[in-house]
Amino acid sequence: MSPRAACRLQTLGFTRVYDYVLGKADWLAYGLPTEGEQANVPRAKDLLRQDVATARVDERVSAVRQRVARSPYGFALVLAQDRTLLGRLGKAALEGNPDAAAQQVMEPGPSTVRPDRQLADLLEPMRTHNLQAMVVTTPQGRLLGVLRRDDAERRLAQAASPDR
């Protein structure tokens, strides 16, 4: 739609016309602020936590274990230098060969969601699949944080009963 609008403006004599082709979907997916009736609905970006353990690709499992033990989660996320999410170190990997590099034993391509997803939409799959947390990234896959199910449950309960 926007390419046609841009072309139409040019036919009307506008000379400096730009088309933000990725549009509203892209803006929202970065968790950027919006205006309008839906701008304040609870979303993943509102409850992001930074307390998940992370690891470099070349880091040894033995070093990562300690950070996981101090975090509220039983896993670590393996990141590239620019924070692109590459993989996940789960229980089996963390309890396996302590000398292995993270990238050798990680589960590649863990599931992620974008920060603009509404909490109400995320809770259903979290309940269905008994997920305690979801990993939130930018559209380019850079880690933004973790959404915890109990946080989401609490926020939606508060929204439903604002006096509590």
Binding site: M1, A6, R8, L12, Y18, Y20, L22, K24, L28, T34
Partner: protein, 67 residues
């Protein structure tokens, strides 16, 4: 053909005073839109409605995902 831009360039243009136009139907604009955007749906875009725009400033249009 208009210049296609990404998020970074959009933010630069907005910082420089560009006007931002959402061309989706008005109901979608009312639901949620980018900060500072004005609504000018594609179906209403003609010589008359375009007079609401400032010809001296760059114009950035967007919809949902460019389709």
């Amino acid at each position: 053909m208009a210049t296609r831009i990404d998020l970074k360039r959009l933010q630069e243009l907005l910082a420089d005073g560009a006007q931002l136009i959402e061309v989706l139907p008005r109901a979608e604009y009312a639901e949620e839109h980018l900060p500072g955007a004005v609504s000018l749906p594609l179906k209403e875009l003609d010589a008359t409605t375009a007079t609401t725009l400032d010809r001296t400033r760059p114009v950035v249009v967007y919809c949902w995902d460019g389709l």
